[in-house]
Symmetry: C2
Subunit: 224 residues, 2 copies
């Protein structure tokens, strides 16, 4: 199997993460690189979703991926092998989330000078990543059917702050009790403006809609 | 639906959580109450597993449950309704884990004087709960098939420190790629002594084995 670059990042020395995150958003705008912060529980399907999505988008946009994990490099290897796009692994030195400083370190390593779009796959965790602004251009959350429809109720902040919610593994709906109506109502309670798209990263269902979402989102962002 | 007590706990003022956790373990031993710290990703099936298990154990042991979440009281209500045992909800004030001080506050509220066994359902999170000793008599992790077999590789600490790993949702094995051999090998790499039991909290498969595990574990603990 191929090799990917692994970098270790530490908690930012900056006291004010919010200020640093705002500065990073400005820097990305100047460079013309759109950064997407991808969050979910462990095993909700971040890497599989990104793989399917990138294969649909890579002829139109120059894409890079930064995979953050406590340990291992399986995700970065998987992305590199299955999409061919530039991919690095970020080790968080035991940290349960990424902050703006750690994100900037990752961007410096992957080199965004020739990239239109970078996906940052955050640590699998519905709590801590929501509390730290990474400086990304937008936030997305993947919630998977097997996790249950009560997650927006139990982990409100992550749903409150995201622009896009993908409800993944809809091919398994017959095997789990999952009430879409309840789930969407609880997301809307926290967040009136989030876009919600149902997908199956396994079968590819709904991924075209996600592609369209990103094409439009990035076009609008460039005009802002 | 019935009501359950909801308490809000804050991060402990104690500088040394490890010392406080050790003291709590001694206190529990004196009181004769065995405390189990239950950890998993969001949606791996902690509440459903506890419900099935408690209904098998409740004629032999006097049981209580403390449900920790950032928000909502759905789990404590569910446990109270479906098992009849005493149950409280702990709100973690946004925190992603419980420490020993927060656990002690919960135990004071639920009142352990007439309880043999208390389950503490930690916040759904594979990272932070592993880093803080709650003072429990033992730690267990529930990993579910839909999450994938690579979780012990990506979240090593939680598997390293646990006594019992339940692999849940085995009724869904045909719908997901999950290699038991790989998963068990990666758990064993970190932790030679963990007991691993495959279960389906939905169908009840394997729950009798978990019951036997706890009966033996508590008997041995009383003799220690």
């Amino acid at each position: 199997m191929g090799e990917v670059k692994i970098i270790a990042v530490n908690r930012s020395a900056y006291a004010d993460n919010d200020l640093e995150a705002e500065a990073l958003r400005g820097y990305l705008k100047d460079k013309g690189t759109f950064l997407v912060n991808v969050m979910s529980s462990p095993g909700a399907g971040k890497t599989t979703t990104l793989t399917k999505l990138i294969n649909l988008l890579k002829n139109e946009l120059r894409i890079g991926v930064m995979e953050a994990d406590i340990d291992s490099d399986v995700d970065a290897l998987s992305i590199a092998k299955n999409t061919g796009v530039r991919s690095i692994q970020i080790h968080t030195s035991g940290m349960c989330h990424l902050d703006a400083g750690m994100t900037k370190s990752g961007l410096d390593e992957i080199d965004i000078s020739d990239l239109d779009l970078v996906f940052l796959e955050n640590v699998g965790n519905l709590v801590c990543p929501a509390e730290f602004d990474t400086g990304a251009s937008m936030d997305m959350v993947i919630l998977s059917i097997p996790e249950g429809d009560d997650k927006p109720l139990k982990y409100p902040l992550i749903f409150e702050k995201c622009d896009l919610v993908l409800i993944n593994k809809i091919d398994t709906i017959d095997y789990f009790d999952f009430n879409f109506e309840r789930c969407e109502k609880d997301i809307r309670w926290r967040n009136k403006n989030a876009t919600i798209i149902k997908i199956s990263a396994k079968t590819g269902e709904g991924i075209e809609d996600v592609k369209t979402y990103f094409i439009n989102k990035i076009q609008n962002w460039r005009k802002e």
